[in-house]
Symmetry: C2
Subunit: 246 residues, 2 copies
DNA sequence: GTAACCTATTCACATGCGTTAGTTTTTCAG
DNA sequence: CTGAAAAACTAACGCATGTGAATAGGTTAC
């Protein structure tokens, strides 16, 4: 059930078999299925734990008073939403499903058990949280400085690599369910311009995007186009000195 | 020395006199002064603790390969930079001073001592970190959805309230040292358009900005203009149930 | 099977903001 | 006080992207 999370955390530190089992167990306690295009948590809700995305895609978003919507991040299998958010009174943004989604509720007690049971797991979860912050900073840069093609290219690079790091990419392709309207809400572009931009990227033979699948025809070209530097994802076993020996 | 941090944390939870002294001590151990417009930490550096801004303003930023720069956040007195970032191998962004700055280096040991010495302090520091994430999300929204006037208004609201929460605002005014070029790097606008935007806001009598001081003439009007909703700053004593009784 | 509705696509036109290239004002070192 | 550099400001013009509106294919509900 939580293979994607374990795979992802192992980019930071090698976990022992027992640690993997502990995560496995935590991720199977309370599992729910949610339909496509539903809210999982809504702005103003009182959170009482964290969510692990087991399957499907979700997004975090927020509406302005006048109806404009900004998606501030995508959540893919292996992602934990709002680790430790139970310190805050209420959610300041919403989380909605893009596809049908399977989530595991991680209660406060479960999380505290995991973290106190293994320093390595605790560190790995903090690593994941720090990377989530870095991703959010990168979105700020993306929206502030990159033009439409660069912005879209960067988003594709990010989500391909994130899925790959969780064992969820196949060769040069991966799932990619957002509609063009959702891509617009994530990139701050109108749907018309998202469409124009995708056409342009297709005719430059950078990507193929159909049937909710993304195929990256030339990853180097795409990364160059996006000025994508993957170091912010910290996927290079930062915590190797903590690796399990068994 | 760390009054601003203590003031800010007390928005979340009331700290005992002993806890306040402990923070005071941690923030006076290693204090340095840095000139205006210098880098405090640079992308690629290996962090070995956290920084507390005691006085002056700094910013976090990142360059794209072609020289475009995005400021991803401002740091004002009382702000901690990169709490727990020592889990990561290297900085994925830089931190530079805008004015002359006084910083206190908080070593890993000092931080761990603070957090293990008081659960309330530990929680307060995590609260601060969660709020920092929420601010980063809000910047994403700001750059993705708001036009120039709204964007600038939102930035002013944020920084006024953040300084106020640290006891660093005076009535309806506060320090505001960024140049128009720096405001452009933060809002994703050209300096020319920053200038146009400020003129517009001045003629609408929303703000006065001169001599590195921001005066907010009509906070309600400014917040309306920005569609600013302060709840993401979580300034409403979320952790009241943990308050010190002494 | 078909109505209702997303989703993708295209076109024409409008505009917010960028760019280039200045000038003026302020700051600050000496 | 003076000169040089930084910061603020202005004007003209162009383009990337938004808006509104229309079409068509695909999907889902009944």
């Amino acid at each position: 059930m939580s293979q994607a999370l374990i795979r992802k955390l192992q980019n930071f530190v090698k976990l022992s078999a027992a640690e993997q089992r502990a995560i496995e167990r935590a991720g199977s306690e309370r599992v729910r299925r949610i339909g496509a295009h539903e809210d999982i948590l809504r702005e103003g809700d009182k959170p009482n734990g964290a969510l692990l995305i087991v399957d499907g895609w979700a997004c975090r978003y927020k509406y302005l008073e006048d109806g404009r919507r900004q998606i501030v991040g995508f959540s893919v299998p292996g992602d934990i939403c709002d680790l430790n958010v139970f310190l805050l009174k209420e959610m300041d943004h919403s989380i909605g499903s893009l596809t049908e989604v399977v989530v595991a509720d991680l209660s406060r007690e479960t999380l505290e058990g995991l973290m106190s049971g293994s320093t390595r797991i605790a560190h790995a979860l903090w690593w994941d949280n720090l990377v989530a912050n870095a991703i959010q900073r990168e979105w700020t840069i993306n929206l502030g400085q990159r033009d439409a093609v660069e912005r879209m290219s960067h988003l594709f690079c990010e989500l391909f690599l994130r899925q790959k790091s969780a064992g969820r990419a196949q060769g040069n392709s991966c799932d990619f369910p957002p509609t063009q309207a959702e891509l617009g809400d994530a990139t701050g572009l109108s749907t018309v311009h998202v469409n124009r931009t995708l056409q342009q990227m297709r005719s430059a033979d950078l990507i193929t995007l159909q049937n909710k699948r993304l195929v990256i025809n030339d990853i180097d070209a795409l990364m160059r186009q996006a000025m994508f530097n993957p170091s912010y994802l910290h996927l290079d076993r930062d915590g190797a000195h903590l690796d399990a020996n068994d």
